[in-house]
C-alpha cells in the first residue's frame, strides 16, 4: 500500500524540481485533477513538473523508498482517467509538460528523437519542416503529448495505413520505479535481441515506469492526396466499399471513416463552418482518404476508379471529391467534430470498441436494437475508423430527457453494448486504453490466467506498487 506524503517528504520532492515547479495549492493543481469528460476528479497533495530525466529518476527513487504513489501525466487528454490521480488518495502527479525538447531529427535515417512531454502537433510540425510525415493524428493533437500517446498506444485517423503509436516507435527511454533509467533509445528497424521491453512499456499506461524519451519513425511525405465523401444506403454497403477500396488502393488507402446521418446533422447544427457537402441526404457516409507517394495523378486515378466502381455496383448513392486542400480539411474537420457536436445535444454515453471488420454491420444492427430496447428514444451516433474495425459507438440522450438520469445509466448501457462486442470477439477498448474507467470490466471479461500474467509483470517491474496504482489493474 502507498502512503500519505508528510510535509517533510513533500519538501524533499520539492527540492528535486525547485519550488517553482512543485504545485500544492488547490487552484494550481486543479487542472491536473480532472479529465476532459469530467467523469473522474482526483485528489493530490502535490504536482511535480520536473525538467530532466535526472530529476524524474530522483523523484521515483524517493517515491520507491517512501512508498509514495506517482501518477505520470502528459497532456491530460486521455479518456479513461489513466492520467488522473485516485480520488481520496494522496497520489503525487508527475507532469511531463516541461520535458518538451526535440532531441534530434534525422530525415535521412527517418527518425525523430524527442522528450516524452513534446506535444504531438509539434512532432508533426518538426517532421513537416524536414519534408517528412509523422502520421499519428487525432482530435487532441494540439495538446496530447507523445509520452501519453505511447503509454496508451494511441490510434487516431491514420491507423489504417500506418498503424498505432506502437508501430511508430523504434526506441524508448524509461525511468523505472526504482529510479533506474533504461536507455532503449535505439534507432534500428530490425533488432531481435531479447524480450520486447519496448512494446511492454507502450500501452502500459504508466504503470510499469515513466517514459521520458522516444525514437519515433518518420515517413516520406505523400505527393498525391485525395479525399472523397460518399453517401451510402447501409453499413453493409460501407463494408463492401471498404473492401473495394482496400483492394484497389492497398497502402495508399490512408483513411476510411464511417459516419451516420445523425452525425452530419449534429455537426452542421453545432460546429461553426461545417456544412453538408451534398444536397442529397443518405443514411450513412464514408470519408475516404487516399495518399500516394508518387505523382499526384495516381491518387486522382484511384479515387475516380473507386467511386466509379462503387456507383456502378450500387454501393455509392452519391459522392463528392474535395477539389482543394481547404475542402479536404473541411471534410476531415467534419469527421473530427462528430464527438464535440454531441455535447450540445445533451449527455452522451460513449464506447470505444472494435470488432473484426467483417462483423461491423452485424454488430451495429444488434447493438442498435439492444440500446433502443433499453432506452427507446436514445439517439445512436456511431462513427469511426471502419477500416480498423474501430467504432466510437456513442449514444446521445433522447431529446428533452434529463441529462443526469441518462448519464446515470452509463454502466448499464456499457454492459449492453460490450456484451455484443464480446459476442463478436471484439475489444471493449480499441484505442483509449483501460485506466480507471474500464479496469474492473477488463478483469471481469478476461481469463484469470491473462490477468494473472499481467499482475506478475506489474509485480516484476514495480514490486513496491508505486507506479500509477489502481490503473489497468486494481491494486491487490
Amino acid at each position: 500500500m502507498t502512503t500519505i506524503p508528510s510535509p517533510e517528504l513533500i519538501a524533499s520532492f520539492t527540492d528535486i524540481v525547485g519550488p517553482g515547479h512543485a504545485l500544492t495549492g488547490p487552484a494550481e493543481t486543479a487542472p491536473y485533477l480532472v479529465e476532459s469528460r469530467g467523469l473522474y476528479r482526483g485528489t493530490t497533495p502535490l504536482v511535480l513538473r520536473p525538467g530532466s530525466v535526472d530529476e524524474i529518476s530522483r523523484i521515483l527513487e524517493l517515491a520507491s523508498r517512501t512508498q509514495t504513489a506517482i501518477v505520470p501525466q502528459g497532456g491530460n487528454t486521455g479518456h479513461v482517467a489513466g492520467q488522473i490521480p485516485r480520488e481520496g488518495k494522496s497520489d503525487v502527479v508527475l507532469s511531463l509538460e516541461r520535458m518538451n525538447r526535440i532531441r534530434d531529427i534525422d530525415p535521412v535515417g527517418n527518425v525523430i528523437v524527442a522528450d516524452a512531454g513534446c506535444i504531438l502537433a509539434d512532432i508533426q510540425k518538426a517532421a513537416d519542416d524536414v519534408d517528412r510525415l509523422f502520421p499519428l493524428s487525432l482530435g487532441s493533437e494540439g495538446s496530447a503529448r507523445i509520452g501519453g500517446n505511447l503509454s496508451t498506444n494511441a490510434g487516431g485517423t491514420a491507423v489504417l495505413a500506418y498503424g498505432n503509436m506502437r508501430q511508430f516507435c523504434l526506441g524508448l527511454e524509461v525511468v523505472l520505479p526504482t529510479g533506474e533509467v533504461w536507455d532503449g533509445l535505439r534507432r534500428l528497424k530490425k533488432d531481435n535481441t531479447g524480450y520486447d521491453l519496448r512494446d511492454l512499456f507502450i500501452g502500459a499506461e504508466g504503470t510499469l515506469g515513466v517514459i521520458t524519451g522516444a525514437v519515433l519513425k518518420l515517413f516520406p511525405k505523400p505527393r498525391g492526396h485525395q479525399v472523397a465523401f460518399a453517401g451510402l444506403a447501409s453499413v453493409e454497403d460501407a463494408l463492401a466499399l471498404f473492401d473495394r477500396a482496400s483492394s484497389l488502393c492497398g497502402p495508399a488507402l490512408t483513411g476510411f471513416e464511417l459516419m451516420p446521418r445523425l452525425g452530419i446533422e449534429f455537426t452542421t447544427r453545432h460546429i461553426p463552418g461545417v456544412r453538408d457537402p451534398m444536397e442529397t441526404s443518405h443514411p450513412w457516409y464514408a470519408l475516404i482518404d487516399i495518399s500516394t507517394s508518387d505523382a499526384a495523378e495516381s491518387a486522382e486515378r484511384m479515387v475516380q476508379s473507386l467511386l466509379e466502381a462503387g456507383i456502378a455496383e450500387g454501393l455509392v448513392e452519391n459522392a463528392v471529391i474535395a477539389q482543394s486542400e481547404a475542402q479536404r480539411k473541411a471534410l476531415w474537420h467534419m469527421r473530427e467534430s462528430m464527438s464535440p457536436a454531441q455535447k450540445p445535444e445533451g449527455g452522451s454515453i460513449k464506447h470505444d470498441v472494435s470488432v473484426p471488420v467483417s462483423s461491423i454491420p452485424a454488430f451495429m444492427a444488434e447493438a442498435d436494437a439492444a440500446v433502443m430496447t433499453a432506452i427507446p428514444d436514445a439517439r445512436v451516433c456511431a462513427f469511426g475508423h471502419m477500416g480498423d474495425g474501430n467504432i466510437h459507438y456513442n449514444i446521445s440522450q433522447p431529446v428533452d430527457a434529463d441529462r443526469g438520469a441518462f448519464l446515470a445509466r452509463w454502466r448499464e448501457v456499457n454492459a449492453i453494448v460490450h456484451a455484443i462486442v464480446l459476442k463478436y470477439n471484439g475489444s471493449i477498448s480499441a484505442e483509449h486504453g483501460i485506466g480507471q474507467l474500464k479496469r474492473d470490466e477488463l478483469a471481469a471479461i478476461r481469463s484469470p490466467i491473462e490477468i494473472e500474467l499481467m499482475r506478475r509483470i506489474k509485480h516484476a517491474f514495480d514490486p513496491a506498487g508505486i507506479m500509477n496504482p489502481d490503473k489497468v489493474l486494481r491494486q491487490e
Copy 2:
C-alpha cells in the same frame, strides 16, 4: 535446475502423445539435434511430437511438476541454436511439426488462423489461394514453421514495406510452462486492453511458453510488380539511391537489397542456372522491388522514373528491369543464393547485424578495414536488406586457407565486427535472434538493468525454469 528424466517419466511423456510420436533412438532423434550451420549439436533422451494443444498442455504440466527442461522446435531452420537442446543435458525436444492445420481463413477480414507448426510456404499458398498476400518471405520458407517465425520475430526480404513477423500477428495462443493455455487468438486491428503479452511472446524464442496457434494478417495482392537490378559504384551511391527510391515509391518500395560483386561471382559460379544479368561489372548492386496495389502501369512508371533519376544523378552505372515473372524470380533467386553460394568457397564467418540506415556506408568501410587487418586475405561478402539497415556481414575464408583454422576465429571476428556495430548503435542480431550463439555476448553488451528486467520477466512466466533453458538468458 532441471533434472534428468527417469525411464518412468519418459514413459509418462510417451503416454501423452502415443508411442508412435515419442522418439528416443539416436537415429530418430538425430535430425532434431543439429542446426543448419552445424555449429551446435545437442543431446536429448526424448523427442515428443504432440498433435494437439491439449497434449502440449499436458506435457508442460508434467514437465513443470518434474522439473524437466523442454525445448520447443518448429522447422529447425534457426541460425542461433535457440531450437537445439543443450549439449550434455537432458532437455526434451517438443516438435510442433504435427501441429500443421490451418484453422480458418477469412479473406474479407484479411486474417488466417493457423497452428504454430504450419510451414511458412503453406501459409503463403493458402493466402494466395484466396487472392491475398502473406508477405513474410525468407530463404527457408519451405521448411520454417510459423511458430518459429513468431518466436524469433523473423524478418526476411519484405520487411521494408510490410515489417517483421511481429507486425503480421494479431493474436496468439500460448501454452504456459504450467500447462495453462492463454487464448489470445484475437482478430482485432485495434485492441488497447492491458499489457502487450502478444509482443512479449513474439521474439522470446520459446523461453516464456510454447506458441501453439496464431492469427496472422493478410494483405491485398499487389497488381503491379517490377524488379530492377542496378550496378553501382559504391555503398554511398546505394544509400543515395535508396533514399530516392523510398521518397519516390513510399510503401510501394517492397525491397531494396544490396549485393557486392563478390556475391555475384559466387552465385554465378556455384548456383546452377544463375547468370549475371548484365555484361558490365560493378562493385555493388541493388535489387529493387516495387509492388503497387492499383494498375501494373504504376509500378512500371515508378521503376522507370527511379532508374532515370539514378542514372541522371550518376548514382546508377547500369541497370536492367526484369521483363517477365521468370526474370523477376531469377533476380530474387540470385539474391537468395548469396549465402548458399558461399559454402563451396570454404568456411564463412557470419554476422546478422543492423545499423541505422544512414550509417551503413561508414559501418561497412570500417568493418572491412578491421577484418582485413585481422585476416588479410579474407573475402568479405556483405549483402542484405539495405532498406532495413540489416546487413548479413559474411566473410569467406581466404582462398586455399584451412577451413577449420579460419572458423576457429569465429568469436574473434565477431568481436571485431560487433564492436563497430555497437559504435554505430547497431544490433548484433538484426533478425536471427539470440539463442545460444549470442547469449553471453548479449549479456556483456547490454546494460545490467535491461538484463535484469528480462530476468524478472523470465522468472514471472517460468519460475521453474523449464522453458528452453539457457537460451536468450543464461540460467541462474
